[in-house]
């Protein structure tokens, strides 16, 4: 499938933080997840990808174009949800739709109001009276209602209750599977987005520490679960991370074949077994390795 977003060596320096040489390629119709701890650079990266902030160094091609020459056209085709959506606080939800509609070539007002109904956001309410989660839902409704080809969502599930979170994840998965949209999401990994991301980029301290397909990661990374006292000290050092549990301990590895000789005796005696690792487990091992 065609590449809809190609970023190469994106770099941006602030007084207290730098995004360093981030490259990213996103296939059309896929869901790309950008994960990392706080201050990893996720929001900075997404702002650059969505044309919200200039790209001082590196190259960026979005939907075959560039913000330098086609900002208006590109933003017509992109739905962007910032980490903390900003609205005119004194104005109503409905007012924002009326304000935004003339600027989008493919604005669908009926769909916007259907989404509000589904999200249970009162269109007549002033934004200042909305909760943080409702503001996020309003931002999502605006992003979904103009026929965007690319959705760039920064912490889209933050502040949402479990029902809306599940509904959003299902919607994103369905739209991407239908090839209607491409999705780039940034998040702390703990909110379920790790379950829908097909390609994963882990950021830490402004740099990429891991980039891979989610399936590939799940195939390669495994937990070796040991009964209490069964993990040899010599073997422990060969794991990416080791976690103590109430019934023993477990070591995370992305090279089961490479350490098979070391873990074989425990596996054979039943003192250890292999288990799947989640993306959250993998991310945590990278964060703790910092």
């Amino acid at each position: 499938m065609d590449t809809v977003l190609e970023a190469t060596d994106l770099t941006k320096h602030y007084e207290d933080f730098s995004l360093r040489g981030v490259s990213l390629s996103v296939r059309g119709g896929s869901i790309a997840g950008i994960f990392g701890p706080n201050a990893a650079g996720k929001s900075t990266l997404l702002r650059m990808l969505a044309g919200q902030t200039p790209v001082p160094a590196g190259t960026l091609r979005v939907l075959g174009g560039s913000y330098d020459t086609g900002e208006q056209d590109l933003k017509n085709r992109i739905g962007y949800v910032p980490q903390e959506p900003v609205f005119f606080e004194e104005k109503t939800v409905e007012w924002h739709a009326r304000f935004a509609a003339p600027y989008f070539a493919r604005w669908d007002g009926a769909y916007f109001f259907r989404l509000l109904e589904e999200f249970r956001v009162n269109p007549l309410k002033k934004v200042k009276h909305l909760s943080g989660g409702q503001k996020k839902l309003l931002s999502l409704a605006l992003a979904f209602s103009h026929g965007a080809d690319l959705l760039i969502l920064d912490e889209p599930t933050a502040g949402l209750d479990v029902v809306h979170r599940r509904s959003l994840l299902d919607r994103l998965r369905a739209q991407a599977a239908g090839g209607e949209v491409t999705v780039v999401v940034a998040s702390h990994i703990t909110d379920g987005l790790d379950q829908i991301a097909e390609d994963v980029t882990f950021l830490r301290d402004g740099g990429v520490v891991l980039q891979a397909g989610a399936d590939d990661l799940m195939t390669r990374w495994k937990w070796i679960l040991y009964k209490d006292g069964a993990l040899d000290r010599a073997v422990e050092g060969r794991f990416a991370s080791v976690r103590r549990t109430e019934v023993g301990c477990r070591g995370l590895t992305n090279d089961v074949a490479g350490i098979r000789d070391a873990i074989a005796p425990a596996l054979a005696s039943g003192d250890a077994r292999i288990d799947h690792a989640s993306l959250e487990d993998i991310l945590l091992s990278f964060i703790k390795g910092a």
Partner: protein, 215 residues
């Protein structure tokens, strides 16, 4: 009507309407000092309108819309320019109409053109500073400038009334000299102001595009 224009122009239109009220005094007064003091309120009015307009602006929201930054910046500068032109035209027409009565002269016209040129460039500079530093950082500075402007106008008026030989801005040597050929001087001042404003506008568009103060 463009929603951004409709929203942004509100305070400028309000400011223009309230300025009309001040001009009422300008139309009926027999006091020449009105022609010295009232123009001083033009930059104050303009900067106040700018601050009121920018205080409620949400650039982070606007940037999510398919509107180029350059278009937003041009619109904002256009409002400053139109507001200035409105006030300048109004004052010039009234001053021209009262010329034969001995309370406004050619130098008065040059003086108020100079004041309007200053107001135009000051407002443009404040607009750029807001984009560069954010409205929350600029607000106290602009309020300070507005208060200083009002204080200056009041002080100047009091001094004209009570201090002998206190110089009137409209009667200083350079203004008087330019008033010798008022229409040429005015055309020249307007041309210089517009050229300077054009340069400031270009610079401002670059600042706006690179601005992250609203994020």
């Amino acid at each position: 009507m463009n929603p951004i224009l409709r929203r942004s122009s509100f305070f400028y239109v309000t400011s223009a309407i309230t300025y009309l009220a001040i001009m009422g005094r300008y139309l009926v007064t027999r006091d020449w000092t009105a022609f010295e003091i009232i123009p001083l309120f033009m930059p104050i009015w303009l900067v106040s309108a700018l601050l009121a307009s920018e205080d409620g602006e949400r650039y982070a929201f606007l940037r999510t819309l398919p509107v180029p930054d350059s278009a937003v910046a041009r619109l904002k500068f256009s409002l400053i320019l139109l507001s200035t032109l409105f006030q300048w035209t109004l004052m010039t027409v009234v001053a021209a109409a009262r010329m034969g009565e001995g309370i406004a002269g050619p130098a008065t016209m040059v003086y108020l053109t100079g004041i309007c040129s200053f107001g135009l460039l000051a407002a443009a500079a404040f607009q750029i500073a807001i984009w560069r530093h954010g409205v929350s950082r600029m607000k106290p500075i602009m309020i300070g400038a507005i208060i200083a402007g009002i204080a200056l106008a009041i002080l100047h008026l009091a001094s004209l009334r009570h201090v002998q030989d206190w110089p009137a801005f409209s009667q200083v040597g350079l203004v008087e000299w330019l008033g010798g050929a008022p229409w040429i001087s005015i055309a020249m001042l307007v041309a210089i102001a517009l050229l300077a404003f054009r340069a400031v506008t270009r610079f401002g568009i670059r600042v706006k595009a690179a601005s992250e103060a609203h994020l």
